[in-house]
């Protein structure tokens, strides 16, 4: 999966890929102070495509708000909400809205799920539907956090560590491997990184083609940009 950190105040974005074995569960957001956790499980293509490059995606997310006592499981098949011992299951095939005291949910048929956890976070999960007889690819999900300002300063995780901004500087622009993708040196988190100018896609407006987001790409699974290494974010279960 590709990660994009948008920094609108700098008119810029950072991006990196995390490649891990199918089945791996990664922590995306972890905020013990407010009790918000988001984990996602990776899935691979049905089989290795002819180009030899196996794509990996998220197919299942587990979202917990401990303080509100809410658990959500979102898969490419269904959406399950568990609160106070009661479970509600929604299907992607429906357009539905649920307004509760602590959580608001809106599903747009076969397309997106918007979740607002009161007083903490708002996010959107996109469903990418792939032709079911596609020889290699399968359905997958995208996770977009829209409003994070109520999470605590100690929020962490592969996405969460960037919620309070990141200081970085880019210098030494030079030709890269591809003429339209120059390389540069980035100073971030006390490290000097080789980065490449490129773009990644934001699918919120155009679920099929996405929109290009120009970004500085950090190589090797975001090494140097993320705290620690990507394996530090592997967790044993969705909840």
């Amino acid at each position: 999966p590709h990660f994009v950190i948008e920094l609108p105040e700098r008119n810029d974005s950072l991006c990196f890929n995390i490649n891990n074995a199918p089945g791996t569960i990664l922590n995306l957001v972890r905020d013990p102070e407010t009790g918000v956790f988001v984990n996602g499980q990776i899935i691979g293509d049905k089989k290795i495509p002819p180009n030899g490059k196996m794509n990996t995606y998220f197919w299942r997310f587990g979202i917990i708000h401990q303080t509100l006592g809410v658990r959500l499981q979102v898969t490419t098949q269904y959406i399950s909400i568990l609160q106070d011992g009661k479970e509600v299951k929604l299907l992607w095939a429906d357009t539905a809205s649920l307004k509760g005291p602590n959580v608001d949910i809106h599903v747009t048929k076969d397309r997106s799920l918007t979740v607002t956890l009161k007083g903490s976070v708002k996010f959107v999960i996109l469903l990418h539907k792939v032709w079911k007889n596609h020889p290699y690819h399968r359905d997958y999900l995208g996770f977009y956090t829209l409003d994070t300002h109520l999470l605590s300063p100690s929020v962490h995780g592969l996405l969460g560590q960037f919620y309070h901004g990141i200081e970085y500087e880019v210098t030494g622009l030079r030709p890269g491997e591809s003429p339209e993708k120059p390389d540069a040196t980035m100073f971030a988190k006390g490290q000097e990184l080789n980065v490449t100018r490129g773009w990644q896609r934001d699918f919120r407006r155009d679920i099929k083609n996405g929109e290009n987001v120009p970004c500085w790409f950090i190589h090797n699974n975001g090494s140097g940009l993320i705290d620690g290494v990507e394996t530090d974010y592997i967790v044993s279960g969705l909840f």
């Binding site: 950190i5 890929n17 794509n55 996405l159 970085y168 699918f203 996405g210």
Partner: protein, 625 residues
């Protein structure tokens, strides 16, 4: 405030009493719920960030709920429920660069009223030759009885008093009544309900903005003013007509990539305004840095008209690029001052000063903050002053603040608003005219104790030194005071004897002027200085300073960063009363609040991004390729 037509705001009064710069403000609001069902009523007050809340109460159905100041950690534990539901600091929020907002809401039964009373205190600081009282008033509806009353008592005598408000129209202007005598001033503003109306017949109010009183006191040569009241003394020192000491100033300018855009433009703009204000006898240098350091000239240059003009042309060429090597830039600036001193290129009686303009995190060369601080401290050797201007919401203000204080200076945040260049210039104006260096205010050891800081590296034109302390006994025959310092041409040295001010003689018509103000002023100043020490002092000093500041905050009922005010508010029906906690914000918390505010992002979103305008805040996403 209320938008409910059935809730009547009966009165809003702001009563501010200033006694020898110490301002005690009481804001009282009475609202009546005329409906036949209960209504929620909000009380929101904005107070200066330098003020400490000292009291808050709500009176509902003849029952008074009073806020209690407790040690922050204990209050948190005791009121875990409030903390766990995210209400910590919920009553106080940052509001702009000068103010913070206290807000509370309470549900009021049908046909009953509520009285809110908030009290806060602060020591007014003399800046650019004046003291400023800032009262922000924003009633959401017309108020039956509205009054702002300010009484100023200054035994030194008032040299001028000026009052204005951002909302004053030609109609409201005559309603500001100002009575000034030699040692006392009263300013009142009390528009009727009709006078508050935006237009005849409409409900909107004209009263929305800042009411500002500015004044200065008469100053005399010599010792300054020493007041002794109820076993405490306070000494105000700001002698007039001293010649300014020439300065040698190195501007160290961060031009790293993160300064790009507005910050860089504002830096250039500010420097272009500041440079022509240099006095001809001053020397100056410009050093710009990213990962490499670039000096305009190898030595400091005399601020002649020609040199200043050349420097201004140079400033126009500064553009952003690359990383941030604060350490190397600072060491080069220090080295330049040391080298020029050693080479006798600078006037003997002059002050050495560095002004660092930066937005942040060092990430090139030495990037460890404590190492940079230590390098700078050891390189300056206590021989120069460092002033730091921190740009933007992400600046590590604490790093700059500590580094400045370790080097006889101070730090200021520059908010990236449209007037950032003016803020920079204003700060420069404050520190650009040193009058005295290494000032010591000395009091007899056997007569006083618990004296606040009495040594100051410099006195700037338009500012004032304040020292307060406790008297050991009431025998004041030997209360000799001496002030020594280094002036432009010669040593400054004055001695004198302090006398007790008889407030009953000075203000015979006043039955009560809050009598313990000198003690509270002393406590306020002591706590402020202890809080500073707990941030930037030596490690063994920090713990002691924190403990002492906490003890005094509790003793004098000040809501400081170490204490919380616990407010119990009634709930409807069978619900138990619930508690809320009001905290004092630290600079770090203010920054966090600013970072988290969606508006801050919205303002920063550039128009060039086609979809960014629709997004109030950044998006963090993960998706398939």
């Amino acid at each position: 405030s209320t938008n409910e037509a059935t809730v009547e705001v009966h009165s809003v009064t702001v009563d501010c009493t200033v006694t020898s710069r110490f301002a005690h403000t009481v804001m009282t609001s009475v609202a009546l719920n005329k409906a036949n069902t209960s209504k929620e009523i909000f009380f929101e007050v904005e107070l200066p960030k330098s003020a400490f809340i000292t009291n808050f109460s709500m009176e509902i159905e003849e029952k008074v709920y009073v806020g209690v100041v407790k040690e922050k950690e204990k209050a948190k534990k005791q009121y875990q429920k409030a903390v766990s539901s995210g209400q910590t600091a919920g009553l106080v929020k940052a509001s702009g660069r000068k103010m913070e907002k206290f807000s509370v809401s309470v549900s009021i039964a049908a046909e009953s009223n509520v009285t809110f009373v908030l009290t806060y205190e602060e020591l007014l600081q003399r800046k650019l030759g004046q003291y400023e009282i800032l009262i922000r008033v924003k009633p959401k509806s017309l108020v039956q009885q509205f009054q702002i009353l300010t009484n100023i008592y200054e035994p030194q005598g008032l040299s001028y008093v000026d009052a204005h408000a951002t909302f004053l129209s030609n109609e409201l202007l005559p309603l500001v009544e100002k009575t000034v005598s030699d040692k006392k001033a009263q300013i009142s503003f009390s528009p009727t309900l009709e006078q508050q109306r935006k237009c005849p017949g409409c409900d909107g109010t004209l009263i929305d903005g800042d009411f500002i009183v500015k004044y200065d006191v008469n100053r005399q040569q010599g010792l300054g003013e020493i007041q002794i009241v109820n076993g405490h003394f306070v000494h105000f020192f700001a002698p007039p007509d001293l010649p300014r000491v020439p300065k040698n100033v190195v501007f160290v300018i961060d031009r790293s990539g993160s300064m790009y855009g507005r910050k860089m433009a504002q830096t250039r703009e500010a420097l272009l305004k500041i440079l022509p204000d240099l006095h001809e006898e001053d020397y100056f240098a410009l050093i710009q840095f990213d990962t490499s350091i670039l000096s305009w000239k190898d030595s400091l240059t005399k601020a002649t008209k020609e040199n200043v003009a050349a420097a201004m042309n140079y400033v126009k060429t500064i553009v952003d690029n690359g990383g941030t090597d604060i350490n190397a830039a600072m060491l080069q600036a220090i080295n330049m001052l040391v080298k020029d001193r050693q080479g006798n290129l600078l006037p003997e009686r002059s002050i050495d000063m560095i002004i660092l303009l930066t937005d942040g995190m060092p990430n090139s060369g030495v990037s460890d903050i404590s190492t940079i601080q230590e390098n700078v401290r050891s390189a300056t050797g206590g021989n120069m002053s460092l002033f730091c201007l921190g740009f933007g919401n992400d600046v590590d203000y604490n790093f700059l603040d500590v580094m400045s204080k370790q080097n006889k200076g101070l730090a200021r945040r520059i908010f990236e608003a449209s007037d950032a260049a003016l803020q920079l210039q204003g700060f420069y104006d404050e520190v650009s005219s040193p009058l005295l260096l290494e000032i010591d205010l000395q009091y007899p050891d056997n007569a006083v104790d618990y004296v606040t800081t009495s040594h100051f590296p410099q006195l700037f034109n338009g500012s004032e030194i304040v020292v307060a302390g406790r008297l050991m006994d009431n025998d004041l025959d030997n209360f000799l005071v001496e002030v020594v310092g280094q002036g432009f041409e010669e040593k400054f040295n004055v001695q004198g004897q302090a006398t007790v001010v008889d407030w009953n003689v000075m203000y015979p018509d006043e039955s009560y002027i809050f009598g313990d103000f000198t003690e509270r002023l002393w406590a306020y100043l002591t706590i402020q200085q202890l809080l500073q020490k707990s941030e930037s002092g030596a490690s063994d000093e920090k713990a002691n300073a924190t403990a002492k500041a906490l003890e005094m905050s509790l003793q004098y009922s000040f809501v400081t960063p170490l204490t919380s005010m616990v407010v119990t508010k009634p709930e409807e029906g069978d619900e138990p009363d619930s508690s809320f906690i009001a905290d004092k914000l630290t600079e770090e918390q203010r920054q966090q609040a600013e970072r988290g505010r969606p508006m801050a992002f919205a303002q920063a979103v550039p128009a060039s991004r086609s979809y960014a305008q629709a997004l109030p805040s950044p998006v963090y996403l993960v998706d398939g390729d």
